[in-house]
């Protein structure tokens, strides 16, 4: 599902990173561990197509994203990659339900309000649909972010430090839900983190 071969990245007048080959297939889960400054976020941005590698290539869903650009890449990302960040952000002016529909709208897919409600129910925040993002707790917001990441059924889910802002209970819950959602669609799940609590959850690990 995802293959990153010999990728490297050089920040303009900044540090450069060399990454090992990364592969993660359908229904597989991969944990990428690393200390600060090892380029975890850079790697995630490369995998997500938010940055283009200086060398090497990234194949997602049988397409080479390192050769894509512009609106085509944006749309491809919206359809094929669900991203979860350390802290959940939303369009503050819209309620949670409208925020969940956003990826459908932005990729030109059919807007399915029922699917948004269903996801919220599965993530145990069904009652938050009409709430503003600022009214949610950190844990609730992270769950809503998971719902938004998976609403387009992307074949790849990327999570950048999804648990580091959460306490143990919420962290465990978020990881459980992430796995559950990835299993539900058979997506490849890649988690980039320095959070040692996740170490024992995943068999597949890479340390930067």
């Amino acid at each position: 599902m995802l293959l990153a071969k010999n990728i490297s990245f050089q920040y303009p007048s900044g540090p450069s990173f060399q990454f090992p080959t990364i592969t993660c297939g359908k229904n597989e889960k991969l944990l990428i561990l690393g200390e600060s400054g090892k380029g975890k976020t850079t790697l995630l941005h490369l995998l997500a197509g938010l940055l283009q590698p200086t060398s090497g290539e990234i194949i997602i869903n049988e397409q080479n994203t390192s050769t894509m650009s512009g609106a085509a890449l944006d749309k491809f990302r919206g359809k094929n990659i669900g991203i979860i960040f350390q802290t959940a952000h939303f369009v503050e002016a819209l309620n949670i339900e409208d925020n969940l529909i956003m990826p459908q709208y932005l990729t030109g897919l059919k807007q399915d309000r029922n699917k948004a409600k269903e996801l919220l129910t599965r993530l145990n925040i069904a009652d938050k649909g009409k709430k503003r993002p600022s009214q949610l707790s950190v844990g609730e917001a992270q769950r809503a972010a998971i719902a938004r990441a998976v609403i387009n059924n992307p074949p790849v889910i990327l999570a950048d430090e999804p648990t580091s802002a959460l306490d143990d209970k919420n962290a465990a819950e978020v990881i459980r839900l992430l796995e559950e959602q990835a299993n539900a669609t058979g997506a490849a799940l890649i988690i980039v983190t320095h959070d040692q609590r996740l170490k024992d959850h995943f068999a597949n690990q890479i340390t930067l």
Binding site: T41, A71, D74, T87, H89, A93, L94
Partner: protein, 448 residues
């Protein structure tokens, strides 16, 4: 979900910023649009009243006052001139046509103007009910006069001396000679709408009586009845009661010895307030100016005077316009600042839209749209405000000058204003929108 919904939600989430931009813009657009409407309609009204009148001949005094009083009927007349003097001018071959106007009294606040058929004919006035005046003390009412006084064909009314309609005291100001309404004009959109037209002779007769009657009315209590006049008693009866009289301008023409004598008596002293003159050729101005020189009369050119007026009054308009433009500039600055600030606050969520499939173009469109939404709402509100302002002004003008300005349609200059507003709105939104377009999402997301 669509971009409009997102833009709208973003504007609503910052109601005060949004309101400030809209209020400023609405105010600027409202004032400019009101001025444009006023300018257009006042000019139209003015032009329609001037209609081919090249000069106004009247008593010396302010030429502008002469024009305002006799063309627009909104100022007091400058005084009267002798018909015998005026003949020297109006018989000049350079004069194609001269329409006599003799200011009479008032009925309520409406002016009674003595004239002849040429006057309504000049403005293409049409009679909607009854007929045009023909004999003394017959009156044809302008549409608004008829509407506001409720007078109908066949009704009688008595005039009041001078223009002070505040004084309702019976004595001294009332003339007892009744006028008979013989006709009502269609709406003419000119000063005619606000006038009571009657033959010149009625005005002369009323004035002659006036002087005498004011003495006698003190002494003779029975005087209050129509027709009861000392010297010209039978003539009154004619107009008031004899229907045959109404035809062919019967009075003052041959036949009645008494009238004849009367006319002769006053021939030398008969007075007119003004003549509206149409010239025969372009040289008329110089020629006629020579004739009028060294008399107590003057010739005023309505076009020149109105031009002078609108220049003075235009100065005020220009100042107002400058203030309104300043307010509009402020409003664009406000649109710019509020977009720019909200862009800074929303950088992260805009970057997020890119991770969910939105392109650079999506972000650009989103910001542009928010700016334009503000501008359009401001423009529409401003246009509505200008209409409300116009209606308020119109009722004020109506009360004070019997002038109505009520065309609320969109003028072509407003379309220009819309284009300019949209254009500047685009400029004000462009910089924030371009910043959104150029944003480095990876950097924005990592710095959060």
């Amino acid at each position: 979900m669509n971009l409009i919904k997102i833009s709208w939600a973003n504007l609503r989430v910052k109601p005060l910023n949004t309101l400030l931009s809209i209020v400023l813009l609405a105010f600027g657009v409202g004032v400019i649009s009101l001025l444009l409407l006023l300018e257009k309609q006042v000019t139209e009204k003015f032009d329609r009243n001037i209609k081919d009148i090249d000069f106004v001949l009247g008593a010396k005094g302010s030429p502008m006052q002469l024009i305002l009083a006799n063309v627009y009927h909104v100022d007091a007349p400058t005084g009267n001139i002798k018909v015998s003097d005026a003949q020297k001018v109006i018989k000049n071959p350079m004069v194609k046509e001269a329409i006599p106007l003799a200011y009479g009294d008032n009925y309520e606040k409406w002016r009674i103007v003595g004239t002849n058929f040429k006057y309504p004919a000049h403005y293409d006035a049409k009679v909607s009910e009854g007929r045009m005046f023909s004999a003394p003390f017959e009156a044809t009412l302008g549409k608004r006069v008829a509407d506001e006084t409720g007078l109908k064909v066949g009704d009688k009314f008595t005039s009041m001396h001078g223009f002070d309609n505040q004084s309702n005291e019976e004595d001294a100001h009332h003339h007892d000679h009744p006028f008979v309404v013989v006709g009502i004009l269609e709406t003419n959109n000119s000063a005619l709408d606000n006038l009571i037209l009657t033959p010149v002779e009625s005005v002369w007769l009323v004035h002659d009586h006036g002087d005498e009657e004011e003495h006698s009315s003190m002494e003779n209590p029975a005087h209050g009845e129509p027709g009861h006049v000392h010297e010209e008693g039978d003539e009154h009866d004619h107009t008031g009661e004899n229907p045959a009289h109404g035809e062919e301008g019967h009075v003052h023409v041959d036949g009645d010895e008494h009238d004849h004598e009367h006319a002769h008596d006053h021939e030398a002293s008969q007075e007119m307030t003004a003549y509206l003159i149409k010239k025969r050729n372009p040289l008329a101005a110089m020629m006629l100016a020579n004739v009028v020189r060294d008399t107590n009369m003057q010739l005023a050119d309505p076009a020149i005077e109105m031009n002078r007026l609108s220049q003075n009054f235009g100065l005020g308009m220009d100042t107002l316009k400058a203030i309104a433009i300043l307010i509009m500039i402020l409003s664009f600055v406000s649109v710019f600042i509020s977009l720019y600030n909200s862009l800074k606050e929303r950088k992260y969520e805009l970057a997020l839209l890119r991770t969910m499939g939105g392109s650079r173009g999506t972000l650009f469109a989103l910001i542009m749209q928010e700016g334009l939404l503000l501008v359009i709402i401001g423009f529409v509100t401003g246009t509505i405000l200008s209409r409300i302002g116009l209606l308020a002004l119109s009722s004020l003008l109506k009360e004070n000058f019997q002038y109505e300005i009520n065309d609320l349609s969109v003028s072509s200059s407003e379309l220009v204003l819309l284009a300019v507003t949209l254009g500047v709105g685009v400029l004000a939104s462009l910089l924030p929108a371009l910043r959104a377009l150029k944003m480095d999402i990876s950097k924005t997301l990592s710095n959060a």
